[in-house]
Symmetry: C2
Subunit: 279 residues, 2 copies
Amino acid sequence: VARTQVRGRLIIIGGHEAKDAEGDRTILELVAARAKRRKGDLLLIPVATLDPEHALREYQEVFHELGVNQILQLDVRSRDDASTREAVSLVKRASVIFFTGGDQLRITSQIGDSPVFQALQKRYRQGATVVGTSAGAAAMPETMLISGAGDQSHSVSTLGMAPGLGLIDGVVIDSHFAERGRLGRLLGAVAENPRNIGIGIDEDTAIVVEAGSRFSVQGSGAVYIVDGATVHYSSLTEQEADGVISIFGVRLHVLGAGDSFDLTKRQPLPTPNARQAAA
Amino acid sequence: VARTQVRGRLIIIGGHEAKDAEGDRTILELVAARAKRRKGDLLLIPVATLDPEHALREYQEVFHELGVNQILQLDVRSRDDASTREAVSLVKRASVIFFTGGDQLRITSQIGDSPVFQALQKRYRQGATVVGTSAGAAAMPETMLISGAGDQSHSVSTLGMAPGLGLIDGVVIDSHFAERGRLGRLLGAVAENPRNIGIGIDEDTAIVVEAGSRFSVQGSGAVYIVDGATVHYSSLTEQEADGVISIFGVRLHVLGAGDSFDLTKRQPLPTPNARQAAA
């Protein structure tokens, strides 16, 4: 999806967004607000999980509490389910499309290039919001991280990548970032091709991407940007696939709620309030 | 300790260095080689742990297997134990002094500025090797990290620092780095004062510091360098101690075995072999 063609937005969540009515549900309130503002339908697609009933119950309850009246669901268990006329018409009606968590390879293998995905891509270009949490977040870019232990420094052999949905260019996204100590695998992914900016999103934290070129941060955690454009040495080779990958000169930014990032210029911007306070 | 005065070296280990005779004990072999080469005594100081007998048994066995004949021990359970003439003479005889793991505050509170520490500092200046693993590693710099959850992004309120032994200037050291996902707390420590270079050491991995100004990496994991000198924005304030700390423009290097780092120039250097291969 070329950036200039896009009128929609992406809400990409690091997983475990707060759902409890007693607490601060910033992220899901943001999603609900999009659905209510556009007076359209919110479509839940629990394709990533093997227990879609559970995911549907959980999100239907929360979004109902948050005042969303039209909640639809698309239960895709095979590629055939992603090709029916009914499925495509559900996507065409939706103004917010929500991918829940689970296994990102289930999302791409069942939906990738299907009539449902083509309809979704068109809706996104026209202005719909596409939301993904956890596996739904990882699946957004052209290339997605699928494996790599979170508790060790990375070698080429332990890092798994696969083609993603392609809704956003030039980035690789990891979720549950601080919680599962995933710096090593995100650095490995960026070392493989520094063209991609690595984005690590903490739990209960989201990036809201506008027109595919800029995002702002919301929620209680942080977003880590790993920019390999300045890397001046990397030891990555197929031959020594088991060794630690040395990488010198990575640029790293940590963004909190309200901060934003320009993907084209590769530049972070602090919250407007913080800028005033500093001035 | 001013760098120019130092003739000794530090071996700073990220914890859980391999001890099994069946495996690759690179790190402890390095320590043993220092002791054998200098024909001096290896002195174990298990002051960080509440179970010094266990630590002593474990290391005595390994170093015996590795051919070190003169293994001494200094069991410090109070500041009085760190002031006796016997304790000081043990340190004076040692050519390698080894701080085992546990709680870094026990090391500094029991030994800091004691006659034992003064003797140790003198031995280090003269050429002795001081080794620390885990808590023993964290205690080496002038300022040490003592707390901060490894599974969340950092706020000022969750980060604990305390004065360390002061054997190395201008750095903050964290151990068990990838294994416990400690990027957040090391970034927090560097944000508090970018003068300090953050050094995160994986388990079974060590840095060998020469003359306090340059180190090389050994072992199976990676060493992460967090350099805050290039930071152009940081949101850190005492007022908002619970919020995530935003930090833009950190320089990050990942070093593997054989790579080295110049602390004065703040520059990494790849292994000599890798440089040849790249040329």
